[in-house]
Structures are given as C-alpha cells and as structure tokens.
C-alpha cells in the first residue's frame, strides 16, 4: 500500500469516501473497517499514534450512536427494542449503528492513507500527476516543515506575555496577533529564500522524486473500484443490514 502512487491513492480514497458518505449499509461500513485495519497492520512502521487517533474516532462514533438513539426522528422503525434498559425504536438503533460504523470506516481508510503515504512523495506526485503548480506545492511543503517551529514560537510568545504579567487564556487573541505579524515577516523571508533558489516555479526544475503511475497502481485502482461495487451491492441487501 505504501508503494502505491499517492495521487492515484488520493483520487481512489476520495471516491471511496464519497461513496461512504451516501452509503446506507452497515455491512458495507464493516467491510471498509476490516479492510482498512487489515492493510494498516500489514503496513510497516509503528502504529502507536494510530491507536490514539483511533480512540478519538471511537469517541466520535459513540457520540453519533447515542445522539441517534436518544434524538432520532420520531416514527423511524416500527417496533421498540430494549437497549440499556431503555426502549428505543429499532429505526433509531439501526441508524445509530450505521452512523457510528460510518465514522469508524472513515477513520479506518483515513488512517490507512495517513500511515502509508510519505509527505514528500505526496507533494511530488501532486506536482507530476495532478499538475499542481510548483509554487503552491513548495509553498505548502515549506509551511508543513515549518509547523514545528511555529508551534514552538507560539509557546514562546505566550510565555513572553505571561512573563510580563499579561494573562493569556487558550483563546486569547494577543499571542495569535503577534504570531500573525511574525507570519508576515517569515513569509516574506522564506519567499525571498525560495526565489533565490529557484523554487518559485518560474523555471523548469528537475525532480529528485519521480513517482510514476505503474501497473500496480492500476491493480490498486481496480481493487478500490471492486470494493465500491461491493459496497453498492451491500445496499441492495434485504433487511436492516
């Protein structure tokens, strides 16, 4: 999965996400969760961070489930069922499970993408396959690699305010304002540096990373299409699934 062309993977997962958004089948959601997790654990590298992100997804799924349960539209589903000693309509229970598993399916394919895609290859592939103008791509890449320093600077600015006895809450505007002034200076400086090295897209550069669309990418695309087909098929299943 980590050897698939990032542009092809983006397009495939975007379509998959779109199908998922309109999907009404619980089985189809489960299919995506299983497939996503399977390929995630086959991928090399540590997945510790996936656990904490997955925890957030689980919470979001639970919250949607309970909202459906207690605040479902009246009259959805005919008979009431007992859940946690409370009577809820079967329709609410079904839509709760559907929405909860949908969030988990989103997270499963999102995590799979995040953990099998290198950011440098992703940007290179967007330039070469999606024809993204290089100045946008390199600008984004610069900001991305700058984000660590940015977070550090933000902490420093907040500390500087506190040293001066100015109270700064989590949503205070003062540190944000100082950071925006800094951002203006930085963007001017980085732009000058990038222009001097020819990263402004005015010349044709050669590329160190050359992601190509290879036969295995077509196999992957066909696989994703098959999954989408299976999901659509699931929507024709009779009953509540």
């Amino acid at each position: 999965m980590e050897r698939i062309n990032p542009a092809v993977k983006t397009a495939a997962f975007l379509l998959l996400g779109l199908v998922l958004s309109f999907n009404g089948s619980i089985v189809a959601n489960l299919l995506l969760i299983v497939l996503g997790l399977l390929f995630l654990f086959l991928a090399p590298g540590s997945k510790k961070r996936a656990l904490s992100i997955g925890g957030g997804a689980l919470l979001a799924a639970l919250s949607l489930f309970f909202t459906s349960l207690w605040f479902g539209r009246e009259g959805g589903g005919s008979q009431s069922v007992n859940f946690a000693m409370a009577a809820v309509s079967s329709g609410s229970l079904r839509s709760g499970v559907l929405l909860g598993t949908r969030i988990l399916a989103f997270a499963a394919i999102g995590l799979l993408f995040a953990f099998t895609t290198s950011s440098d290859l992703l940007v290179a592939s967007y330039i070469q396959q999606f024809r993204l103008p290089p100045r946008y791509a390199y600008g984004i890449l610069a900001a991305y690699h700058f984000s660590g320093s940015l977070a550090r600077e933000f902490r420093k600015v907040r500390l500087a305010f506190r040293v001066r006895g100015v109270r700064v809450g989590p949503l205070s505007l003062k540190p944000l304002f100082v950071m925006l002034v800094n951002a203006l200076h930085w963007s001017g400086d980085i732009a000058a540096a990038m222009e001097s090295k020819g990263f402004d897209g005015s010349r044709n550069r050669t590329y160190r990373l050359r992601p190509r669309v290879e036969p295995r990418d077509w196999v992957f695309a066909a696989g994703v299409l098959a999954v989408m087909g299976a999901m659509l098929g699931c929507n024709l299943l009779p009953g509540v699934l």
Binding site: L122, L171, S187
Partner: protein
C-alpha cells in the same frame, strides 16, 4: 499569486491549526461528557468557526476573488500532509467551506470588505458545511430539536471566530502597518493619506 502570498496563506493556515489544537482537547472532553446523554454531537460545534477562519481572514486581507477557496484548499492539503484522521476526503470539506465564504464576498462583487461581508461569509461557511456534515453524519435521521441546536451553535461560533475575530485581526495588522503589499494594508494607507 505571489509566492509570498502563498506562503502567508499556508503559514496562517498552520497557525490557525496550532491555535485550534488547544480547543480540540476541549472539544474531545466536551464530546466525552455529553455522549451518554446523546449530546456528544454538539461537543465540537463551539469551535467549528476556527476551521473556517483561514478562508475569511485571507479574503479579508488579500481581497481577491478565489483566495478564500485557495486558502481552504491549502489548509486541507496541510491537514492531509499532517495525517488527518479522515484522509483525502478533507479536500472536499475544504472546497465546500471555501465556497461558502467565497459566495458571500462574491455577492458584493469583491468590492466591499467590512463587517457585513465577514458576517455573511461566516453564515455562508456555516450553511455550506452544515449541508455537507448533514450528508456525512446522516442529519435526516435526527429529531428537529437537535438539528437546530447544531446549526445555532455552529453559526454562533462561526460569527464569533470568522465574522468578528478575523476582521479584528486583519484591522489590527493593517493598523500596525505590517500589511504592505496586501490589499487591506494598502487600502488603509490610502485613507490615512487622504
């Protein structure tokens, strides 16, 4: 667009992301507390406006058609790079939120930039994103009361963060004289010289 502007947009998007990071913890906590009551869906709503800030702020500062859309697309690109939980579908969310903001400024033909425009942009982002999350999270299965609550809290958040804060931040920067080369700063200078 100039490289300097692209970089400013991208850095601002990261900055709002960092600014927003603290609130995600609050949102997660709130979601956790509210979940058993079925109100967990409201947990992140008070902070929704922060997601739209890039579009409204950048349009207010650069004042050109399409920059809000570009800002949201760059912001979602950054989120994908940083490994967002939802993956590439974020591009679609960025596109929809950016369009919500653009529609509001386009209604004034990109000629007027003030509170009415930033407030309308805040409403635009709310309405557009509401339709999109409505599809993804199956709002049609929920009771009207909770749907109104979601919309109202998101709208208030958006009006505060985009309608008011973005304007205040932009005006502050212009007043500080650091917005040379940006439409908002240059316009401010003209009025001073008059």
């Amino acid at each position: 667009m100039k490289l300097k502007h692209i970089l400013f947009i991208a850095i601002t998007a990261v900055l709002f992301g960092v600014f927003y990071l603290g609130t995600t913890y609050a949102g997660t906590f709130l979601t956790g507390v509210l979940t058993p009551m079925g109100l967990g869906i409201l947990g992140y709503e008070p902070f929704y406006g922060i997601w739209f800030m890039a579009a409204v702020f950048i349009t207010y500062v650069i004042q050109k058609p399409g920059v809000g859309l570009i800002a949201e697309m760059l912001a979602s690109f950054l989120e994908v790079l940083m490994g967002n939980m939802f993956g590439p579908i974020i591009f679609l969310s960025g596109l929809i939120q950016g369009l919500g903001s653009e529609v509001a400024f386009a209604a004034f033909r990109y000629k007027k930039f003030g509170y009415p425009q930033t407030m309308l942009a805040a409403v635009g982002c709310t309405v557009f994103s509401y339709i999109w999350t409505g599809i993804r999270q199956g709002y049609h299965t929920f009771a009207p009361g909770i749907l109104i609550a979601i919309f109202a809290i998101r709208l208030l958040s958006s009006l505060l963060f985009c309608g008011v804060l973005c304007k205040l931040l932009g005006d502050g920067l212009a007043k500080a004289g650091v917005l040379r080369g940006f439409a908002l700063g240059d316009r401010q200078k003209l009025t001073v010289e008059d």
